[in-house]
């Protein structure tokens, strides 16, 4: 809270000491800064960029101008309507486009900017090319905000409040989930994060900020013209965010001040250097700074600040590792992790796994029928059937390329099957997104690590509580989440303790050795309180002792009633751990049964040893036995 009060006080004091001309520039910096804060949320949180943010700015400004001059609507009401108008347009644009990966939102918003200025020029109600003028200056309780100084004071609380709300959002459940998406979209979705819905909300919110900035702009200039939607302004907003530092809302304000300063300097300087230069001459400065930033300082001023403070700290004395980690993640330094209830891993596990949610032992939690995945002519998975029951460990084994991970990808919603059905908790999920599968209680870990690299161990695990907490964008912005956050924290702590990671809670996950990172993934998956846990090679990279610990943990998880499916290369470990083993070869399920049966199955032996002397005979028997075992499996 203190930084916001300090910045508020500094801003409030500025008009008292600065010249009227400087205050005038400052007013623009605050107005544009408000829009830049919104854009910074979009770029930092949603990982998307808008090249037409001025469109939302203009929609806000025009709505305000029309409502004030043509319909005499009270100012505050008009401002609300203006911000809403911008948000509705963002919703309409975002709905189709945010579903797509890649560059489409950027280019579509660029197009939107062009459309808004075309429409503003064409319509009568927007006053054509000359725009709308005669917008009255705002008056609150008889005080008229008409001088630069007065207007600056009017803007200060608005901007500080906007900054506070935005920075709350970054630290909220929504911010945590989206930051995870930026690190690994697939992992976040498998933990129940609905990327599309959250991105859409942030996009709409950022348009709201821009719309509100447009309202201030209309009030300040007293006139709105099609230039308000101009591409140059959109570039300016973008530059503010990049200069300040992607991912920091504070940066947007600092960037806004810096860019307004640059703008003013260029307008004075360029005509002196290039005689006769007219028009948008400041653009040369914007372009050069933008390119230099990306090439030399992609983190913007925030990166510079972090580098400087790190150097200063190194000079004054070595910081503790925890402090450095806290500084790197922007999180407050915390006391060492409090021991989870009971202290022992098994007690911690019991705390994480929600007993009330787990179905009765033996209930079918995953039913796969005729699962097929083709890539062109290659059949990766070929008509595979199996069931998984609550309270059992099923191991999926097979040679490389047998289709094990593809099966996992289809079950968890990462891939859509070519044919076949997948039922999780009696609900058909094939072809649905991973977050839908996760919402039914199924989650997974990954063969190639998918940890959230910019976050700590605890931060990684907290993401898995996404579905077990509810607060949305609004509650996040207002920071009314204290109790829920404490619950998330304690559940995450318990999951961390269950894997014996309590000493590393506050370390950046990327600093851990490979095997520990795997364990973080398992802790993360457990923290979802799953009913179905899919583990893709969880033993890889673990030491012998760590393997034993993990095996014990998985047994305890099974005992708690969770269904565990395991892909693993270490066949001996699998045979010791699993209740049933399914063997895939070349996409087909060639055996399914107890470890003892599978171990001696000739088709399995052939698949692993590659004897093709009696291939035909073996193949025939394999098909038979696979069919028998599949029947066993179904009957359970």
């Amino acid at each position: 809270m203190l930084p916001f009060i300090l910045v508020g006080a500094a801003l409030a004091a500025f008009p008292l000491v600065a010249s009227s001309n400087l205050v005038n520039i400052g007013v623009y910096a605050l107005i544009y800064g408000l829009a830049a804060i919104g854009l910074s949320l979009l770029m930092g949180l949603a990982g998307q960029v808008s090249l037409g943010h001025a469109a939302f700015f203009a929609i806000g400004a025009y709505t305000q101008a029309i409502l004030l001059t043509k319909y005499q609507v009270p100012g505050a009401l008009a401002a609300l309507a203006a911000a809403l108008a911008a948000m509705v347009v963002a919703l309409l644009v975002g709905l189709p486009l945010l579903r797509l990966r890649g560059h489409f939102l950027a280019l579509a918003t660029l197009g939107l900017g062009i459309i808004v200025s075309v429409v503003a020029r064409e319509l009568d109600i927007t006053g054509g090319t000359s725009g709308i003028f005669g917008i009255p200056k705002p008056a609150i309780l008889g005080r008229v905000y008409d001088s630069p100084r007065e207007f600056f004071w009017l803007m200060t609380p608005i901007v500080v409040l906007g900054l506070l709300l935005a920075s709350n959002l970054v630290r909220s459940r929504t911010g945590r989930a989206l930051s995870a998406v930026n690190d690994s979209e697939v992992a976040a979705e498998c933990l129940g994060v609905n990327t599309f819905a959250l991105r859409l909300r942030v996009f709409v919110l950022s348009a709201g900020y821009a719309g509100l900035a447009g309202v201030c702009y209309a009030y300040w200039l007293g006139i709105v013209s099609p230039e308000a939607a101009g591409f140059e302004l959109s570039v300016q907003f973008l530059l503010m965010v990049v200069l300040g530092g992607l991912g920091t809302v504070w940066g947007a304000l600092v960037g806004a001040i810096a860019v307004e300063g640059l703008d003013e300097t260029m307008r004075v300087l360029v005509p002196k250097i290039v005689p006769g230069a007219t028009g948008e001459v400041q653009l040369i400065g914007f372009g050069v700074v933008l390119v230099l930033l990306i090439v030399l300082l992609p983190g913007g001023l925030a990166q510079l600040w972090a580098m400087t403070t790190a150097r200063w700290r190194r000079r004054t004395g070595p910081a503790t590792a925890a402090e450095a980690a806290a500084a790197a993640t922007g999180e407050d330094h915390r006391e060492p992790a409090e021991p989870a209830a009971g202290g022992s891993p098994s007690a911690a596990l019991a705390q994480v796994l929600d007993a009330g949610q787990v179905p009765d032992r033996g209930t079918v939690v995953l039913a796969v029928r005729g699962l097929t995945k083709r890539y062109g002519g290659v059949v990766a998975v070929d008509a595979v059937d199996f069931d998984v029951h609550a309270g059992e460990i099923l191991a999926l084994i097979g040679p490389n390329g047998a289709g094990k991970t593809t099966c996992f990808n289809i079950v968890s919603g990462v891939l859509a099957p070519t044919a076949g059905t997948v039922e999780v908790a009696q609900r058909r999920v094939e072809g649905r997104r991973p977050h839908v599968v996760a919402s039914l209680g199924a989650t997974r870990t990954f063969q190639s690590l998918q940890v959230f690299g910019s976050s700590t161990v605890l931060g990684n695990v907290k993401v898995a509580r996404h579905l077990r907490s509810r607060s949305g964008v609004l509650r996040g912005m207002l920071a009314l989440t204290g109790r829920e956050e404490r619950a998330v924290e304690s559940a995450a702590q318990a999951a961390v303790a269950a894997l014996g990671l309590s000493d590393d809670t506050e370390r950046l996950v990327g600093d851990l050795p490979f095997g520990r990172q795997r364990q973080v993934e398992v802790a993360r998956a457990l923290a979802l309180s799953p009913t179905l846990l899919l583990l893709d090679e969880p033993m890889a990279g673990l030491s012998g002792a760590e393997r034993d610990e993990l095996a014990a943990l998985l047994r305890a998880t099974r005992t708690a009633g969770v269904a565990v499916v395991l892909v693993e290369h270490d066949v001996e470990a699998v045979m010791a751990l699993a209740d049933r083993v399914a063997v895939l070869d070349d996409g087909r399920l060639i055996a399914l049964g107890s470890p003892a049966v599978v171990r001696t199955d000739p088709a399995v032996v052939a698949a692993y040893l590659g004897t093709d002397a009696e291939a035909d005979d073996l193949l025939q028997r394999a098909t038979q036995s696979a069919a028998e075992h599949t029947d066993d499996g179904v009957l359970g």
Binding site: M43, G47, Q48, V49, L51, V93, P96, L97, R99, L100, R101, G102, H103, F104, A106, L107, A108, L110, G111, L112, I114, I115, V118, V119, R121, E122, V186, F231, V235, V242, L246, V270, V274, G276, A277, T278, G279, E280, V281, L283, I284, G285, F286, G287, V288, V289, L290, V291, L293, I294, V295, P298, T405, N409, V414, F446, Q447, S448, Q450, D536
Partner: protein, 289 residues
């Protein structure tokens, strides 16, 4: 009827320019997975430079032939100096970076040529009437050039070894390097082609559609929309997409309102993404998890 034919024909000429620009997007995207926002600027730069060269006394066609390699050089130089050094090229970074390049190019053009739009003198030839449709010789120049350049670029990518290696680089950079294809060269060639098609589009279109410091923005957006129709990877569909977009724009301008011409591209983009996103999404990298 002749109204319609007239609108369609001049729309085709207009669309051929978009198609050429779209080729530039595809050329760069298929090798570097970058949407090059400076693509439109190559055209503006070529148009304005040609105007200056003619003003300096050079014959028109010679001026054009000099300007095109010059712009190719600029495009490649920018790739070397600014784009190549960036190690971690995420979509977000690539958009911001090429936006920055585009802004610098725009600003430089504004400082050199000022804010006014101007046109290059028309290429040799005479306008004529055919079945009630007035045909400007410049439009034939545009269509002819687009046909020749478009065919050449498609042929280069699909039938020459060098063209095929470019695609290989995009799909498997490591494997391409192992068999001796340099991603560095591939990237330079891609930007060179982008500069080439952009510059050609710029000089042939300048006599009718004019060139100015800011004309690259709308041109670039429309080229992108055309390229999107081909999923940003198909050269043929991108060229065709340009023609379709040009005709649509002309029909809207003729039958609805000239002012709304610039809105067409955006609506096409959104509609296409709504109706057939699966055919148009950027080919997702095979997810390895």
């Amino acid at each position: 009827m002749s109204d319609l034919l007239q609108l369609v024909f001049s729309g085709l000429a207009n669309g051929a320019v978009y198609g050429l620009v779209a080729l530039g997007f595809v050329a760069v995207f298929s090798v570097r997975e970058i949407v090059n926002l400076a693509q439109g600027e190559y055209s503006a730069l070529a148009g304005l430079s040609a105007i200056s060269a003619v003003a300096a006394g050079l014959p028109l066609l010679l001026a054009c032939c000099l300007v095109v390699p010059l712009v190719v050089l600029v495009a490649v130089a920018i790739e070397r100096v600014v784009i190549a050094p960036v190690k971690r090229m995420t979509p977000l970074i690539s958009i911001i970076l090429t936006l920055g390049i585009s802004t610098v190019l725009k600003a430089v053009m504004l400082l050199i040529w000022g804010p006014q739009a101007r046109g290059l003198g028309p290429f040799p030839g005479r306008d004529f009437l055919l079945g009630g449709v007035s045909i400007r010789s410049q439009e034939l120049w545009i269509l002819g050039t687009a046909a020749v350049v478009g065919t050449a670029v498609v042929w280069f990518y699909e039938h020459t070894l060098r063209g095929k290696t470019l695609r290989a680089c995009a799909e498997q950079p490591v494997a391409a390097r192992l068999v001796g294809i340099s991603p560095r060269t591939a990237s330079m060639v891609a930007f060179g082609i982008a500069g080439f098609v952009g510059a050609v589009a710029g000089v042939v279109s300048s006599p009718i559609y004019f060139s100015s410091w800011s004309s690259g923005l709308a041109l670039g957006l429309k080229g992108f929309v055309a390229a999107t129709l081909g999923g940003l990877v198909s050269l043929r569909v991108a060229l065709m997409g340009g023609l379709v977009l040009g005709v649509l724009e002309n029909l809207v301008a003729g039958y609805v309102d000239t002012g709304y011409r610039d809105a067409v591209a955006f609506l096409v983009l959104v509609l296409v993404l709504l109706v057939r996103p699966q055919g148009l999404v950027l080919q997702p990298k095979a997810l390895r998890v």
